[in-house]
Subunit: 328 residues, 4 copies
């Protein structure tokens, strides 16, 4: 029979994403609903080691559901990768009487949580918060939908100027290892080509495809490039290559950068965050540990943390095909 | 063996929704991709009867993926409900050599398509376009996600002024028969109460709940009301009731209205529209008819039109519970 | 020689508007810059009478420049209209050692400030915060520019659905006594007609004008109506009149309501708020009192509070003419 | 007595800016209002030389007031800098019976117009369209206000992630020769420092100022850098310098790029464009030539083209001071 949970701590860790505040709010209010105390931990595992806590009740999280970033701040902690660091963190939690820990973050953060659980048998639950959508066990990570809308809005703006000038734009979006943002935003932004880490189009085929676009009557073009695209050139080298190998285009580069991480979360991300926060706390109160909550087929489901970490989310091949057809 | 499709017509019908233009574009480009001709029909079934057609090629739909509304315009046609009207429409399609018809709209539009097919054995495919998300066979209708973001943005703005003045706002959102918009936006907007057609909270319980909110320290409140809420009072009567039965609140009403139908579609709706357009045309080229394309578990699936029309989409009870917990 | 100001109080009063938080921040930071203490007063004159104060330093106003509403909340105070109420307010300010008061609000709030100054010779400065832009002595009030963008965004969305359905929309915007919002947004939203409190178009001419629009080939129309339009019918009566006297239009009504008051302030309003806050505090430190700060010809200028209250801002006749020409 | 103008041509030239479409619409509809014919010229002076014209009537410009970019497309023309090019352009205009030319663009475009007028005594009028706000004779150029809001929205998003991680961000905004965008957006975005072409802060003082910020309790910082900032380092070199000379900050760079040129124009820019279009055409019909229309003290005024070209718009020193005080 599981030990009764009476006090839960919550932290955000790794790169921030829109919806993290909404998830914090949901964790705190679900605790309040079940008469469980709740502590916020500042700056992820760093703050855990330092004992940088704050008491959170239902009113403390008022007005944050629509704020980007994380009110608890986030960090990457080297110390938590050491046994001493984790020992210190455990001590701090025990001092405060905390019984369970909810970690909002990506797979690096979950790895830390899992090791921590294994060492101290301390209940942990994960909520997937990252714009990259690269976590196994959920169709959508927190912040992914918001980031898509931010990127598409930027592409729309760039399209205005591209089509006024018959220009070719390379637009870099986030995604070192996965092309989810690039692929969705490429389709939604009406891109002529999408370069993702999962697929090597090759430079020749890129130029060929752009030439075909041009012949079909297109006077401006947009190519979406994920940070980690397979061609293995950075976006400025791509521009140079096309400058040398294509005529009639004025080629420009835009790197969207960190604005992709911020902004008010979309309705989808706020609802998802609320559902995930409820599920994470209630699963923990039911005696579960070492799970990540996720969205599967529009339902909340639990996935073991180690599967979430090891698993791979694959690119949807149907979307690749849709992209090809749409750039006809 | 199915007859080969060589020319497809596409129309939008019923209330417009964001993403309809993106779906038209997808239908047109998929036709182009498969070397099938494509005609657009203006003003839904009205234009079909009048033969108000336009030839659409890949370039004709340039720059519309991010536009709200529908370039083909929409209408509700009384004449298409008569056998004579449908006979005339059939004649016009035959004259133009059209082999198949894609209908983008809601269940009323699908009923028309189904009857038309039964009378003339004419291939039809449906794409669910409505902000209400009330169509069986797809987890999301085209425009639903965009409408959610529009509504949540409006709630955020009203919240600014509500909390500056310690006010109670009743906000009416679309949804005569279903509470999907109200429920999602209520959660995402941090509403204290959500009144939907599927559930009768009762006026006494509403006041009780608002009083509880107030005692818990909330100084302003937002109640989201679907057009067709079960309490059976219109939103101004609700205000009057609360004015008479609660003290200490300045009660206001806001009816969001038709702006919910417009605006640039979200990334989600653009991708969904693109996928649906591809699927609808390719299914038709494969010899299918009388289906609606839909999103199920993140995959494109076909649902027989009669199931789509008769089926009911139920409110997600989990969301009701999340809403209760979040308003703690 | 003016008494040295060592402690300033700031409050927001009347209807809230976007930019009020930015103005509070500017007042607080200008005080900090000049080593003057600053107190915030909650709920306008109500809080002044109750002594509901909060110490504000440069860090207290972090992260509010982009927030709608007012962190100090606002209210309308009946008690401050009585001599006893003002006496109590004066007592509370003296107890706290406050030397000067900055009032962010509209003309009602300025009237209160002026009376207060006359009774107690207490230094007061006004910052014009209202979306209506109806205050003499400044080309722009705080929040006006933001409200314009909010309204135009809503009109754009409604236009999407209007033009998809060949509809005529009456859209009501704020402005009981002045038509600034209606006139600017009408031009920017491409409205066919704009009804404002300053001008009586007459119902017959409205219908005539709409008929002319229709004949010129327009298939949908938008009429912007200020709350206080001169025709003297409310917007639903307007719809009924047009329904009876025009054919071929499906007429709809949308009342934009309180969302016009909220939202993140525009760049213009944030810069204006910052400039006004600096000017208000520095003028006070220079010994000035009973002035409102305002924008004139892109410069900060002082206007005596009584002129600001009594003066009238007139509608720009050039804009009326531009509107007529644009609806050609 | 001036020759009667019976046919006007309009073109957009140079970098595009939001509001150009609204200005085209205003020129076209003002012509229609006065029964003057109107031709659109594609791709600026390039299209003029090639005779790439389109007839525009009141209905041709429907639905473009809220679109970014320019429907007439823009270009920079080398040929128009030659006497032969201009001779050819003149010939094309005469062939079509055009009597006057409205040029929407920046100072380069105006220089072309002026030379053209001097050579052929052809009536020309300028409308200042550029996001940089660097044209003498108008307090605001078309697109400036929209660009400000686009930049501030991006800064808000970056601020979310900056403050979640205690980061220092250098954000590059447009402005090679003038710091208007940087200065306004720096204030509105709550930047700690603003680097502009007009002022050399010096690297040491920058680091000093950031250190002071940090000591005052700020945990994240944003520095806005105009493209042409005076320190003379590009933004990546700035980052390197700070990385080496400051501790405790994780320094990041974001270059906002071309998205600053696009997007739906703000209400302000749409109204301004409408006013400018009316004024430009009506001034020309009144026999004027060689002027630029501009906004001065909220009124439409004419400035001789040569003054507009030679004049310098200075940075508002008051804003620099406000920026200093706000970063207290």
């Amino acid at each position: 029979m599981p030990k009764t949970i009476k006090k839960v701590a919550v932290l955000t860790s790794g790169g921030d994403s829109p919806g993290m505040n909404a998830a914090i709010r949901a964790v705190v209010r679900t605790c309040a609903y079940h008469n469980v105390e709740c502590l916020g931990v500042y700056r992820g595992y760093e703050g855990l080691i330092e004992g940088d806590f704050v008491v959170l009740d239902a009113r403390s999280v008022k007005g944050i559901i629509n704020k980007g970033g994380t009110m608890l701040k986030s960090a990457r902690s080297k110390e938590f990768r050491t046994a001493e660091g984790r020992q210190e963190a455990y001590k701090k939690l025990k001092e405060k009487g905390v019984d369970g820990l909810v970690v909002i973050g990506g797979d690096g953060s979950f790895t830390g949580a899992l090791v921590f659980n294994q060492e101290f048998n301390f209940p942990v639950m994960g909520i997937p918060g990252t714009i990259d959508n690269d976590i196994f066990g959920t169709s959508h990570t927190l912040g992914f939908d918001t980031a898509l809308n931010t990127v598409v809005d930027a592409i729309d703006k760039i399209r205005d100027t591209a089509s006024s000038h018959n220009r070719l734009f390379f637009i870099e979006v986030m995604g070192r290892d996965v092309g989810h943002i690039a692929l969705n935003c490429g389709i939604a932004g009406g891109a002529e080509e999408i370069l993702i880490p999962e697929e090597d189009l090759g430079l020749e085929r890129l130029v060929e495809s752009l030439n075909k676009s041009k012949k079909s009557g297109k006077t401006s073009s947009i190519v979406i490039v994920a940070e980690g695209d397979k061609i293995g050139k950075n976006i400025f080298e791509l521009k140079d290559y096309v400058d040398e190998n294509m005529e009639g285009y004025d080629v420009r580069v835009s790197v969207l950068g960190h604005m992709q991480r911020g902004g008010a979360p979309s309705c989808f991300d706020r609802v998802l965050a609320s559902r995930m926060g409820v599920k994470a706390v209630e699963a923990m109160l039911d005696g579960e540990s070492n799970y990540m909550v996720g969205l599967k087929n529009n339902k909340m489901e639990l996935t073991p943390l180690d599967s979430a970490i090891k698993g791979k989310t694959k690119i949807n091949l149907e979307l690749l095909r849709v992209s090809d057809i749409m750039s006809t």
